[in-house]
Assembly symmetry: C2
Homo-oligomer: 202 residues x 2
DNA sequence: TGAACGAAACGGAACGGTTGCGTTTCGAAA
DNA sequence: TTTCGAAACGCAACCGTTCCGTTTCGTTCA
């Protein structure tokens, strides 16, 4: 029997038992792995089931299709935000600390996920918005760092972190996803000393 | 009969007659269209043949498979380099002119191609290098603009265009491919006035 | 307390239908 | 006569579903 509602909105009764959570964890984890390895288009439900050591039926008991599994996997992806609260005593020290943590946060693995869904994002606005809010933004903000620098007198009153937010993540992602090069300490130093600090001090 | 050599290296005798060139043109053009519309993974040979009004047999007489057709299509992709020779009389004018042209060159269509092959680039180094050299780099360089500015006395002797090459394309591509936003004149002004010029004048 | 039960969820295998790849065939066109 | 298009083919992969035998776990009952 065909259940239109279930096909459109997912299973009407997602399993809730004690085993359900562990199964969902395994399936979502496998989805992230495959997303990194082969991208969205080449991620097959058969491969997902095998990787998660699950039956396909189990997957379809919990979600209504591939898009829903992947979306939830990305939604649960916890990205460590960098800790802007640590006061190193100077603007440059704070920025270097943030750049290092941001570089470590945007790992090669995250880049693989972004690359894997980039094409699908163009035809799936929901997925696009999900990735942008979950993976790209919300990695932490530089406002605290700038405020501390203003308090120290290193920056004039009224300085904002807008340019930093605009430039730093874009350059890191471009390096990882487009150019395919890793992020190392040397790059972090370069970004801070040659780009971010000059922009803040202009 | 299976011809290993032909399967690995393409047809041993690519058609050379008077109709051949026109057919290749049509097929490569259709490949670019589909690449922009659906990306590499979802580009099917059936759709390619239909779009090019060609038989699949014709495609396989000219290339050995999908990867080869797409690679040649990208190789033949002509990207207009911006004209850095125009002297507007000031550094800012030259930069704005270049940013406008670069923005127009990195069209939404180019962004679609980049997005479409981003995932495949991670598993195909040849394709990756091809895209990087053909689509990303070689869009024109800012060296002439900086040299003129030095000659005018707007920049100190020894100024280089390195930072401009590093920052400008990265921000444009990030905006188009990752954030999915268009490039307009306002953005070009912002890039030049708030980022590039401050970096050059630091 | 502890053994037995039963519903729920499970893994694995298989199925039908669809799609894509690369090949072959054949009549038309140049 | 060569090249072409259109159509069809075999093969493999994928999707979503269904079936079946097994495992898990809360409940019941001794």
């Amino acid at each position: 029997m065909i259940n239109i509602v279930e096909k459109a909105n997912g299973p009407t009764h997602r399993p809730t038992g004690p085993r359900a959570e562990a199964r969902e964890e395994a399936i979502l984890g496998a989805a992230l792995e495959l997303l990194r390895e082969v991208g969205y288009d080449r991620l097959s439900m058969d491969a997902l089931a095998e990787r998660a050591r699950a039956g396909k039926a189990t997957i379809y008991r919990h979600w209504s299709g591939k898009a829903q599994v992947v979306a939830e996997a990305i939604r649960r992806l916890k990205c460590e935000r960098f800790d802007a609260l640590v006061d190193t005593g100077s603007l440059r020290g704070d920025l270097l600390n943030a750049a290092d943590q941001l570089g470590a946060s945007f790992t090669t693995e995250d880049a693989a996920i972004i690359a894997g869904v980039t094409s699908a994002m163009r035809t799936d606005p929901e997925l696009a918005e999900l990735v942008r809010s979950q993976v790209l933004n919300n990695r932490g903000d530089f406002n605290g760092i700038i405020e501390r620098a203003v308090r120290r007198g290193e920056l004039p009153a009224g300085s904002t972190a807008d340019l930093v937010h605009e430039v730093m993540p874009a350059l890191l992602i471009n390096r990882l996803v487009i150019r395919g090069e890793p992020i190392d300490a040397e790059l972090a130093n370069h970004l801070v000393d040659d780009i971010v600090l000059p922009l803040l001090h202009q």
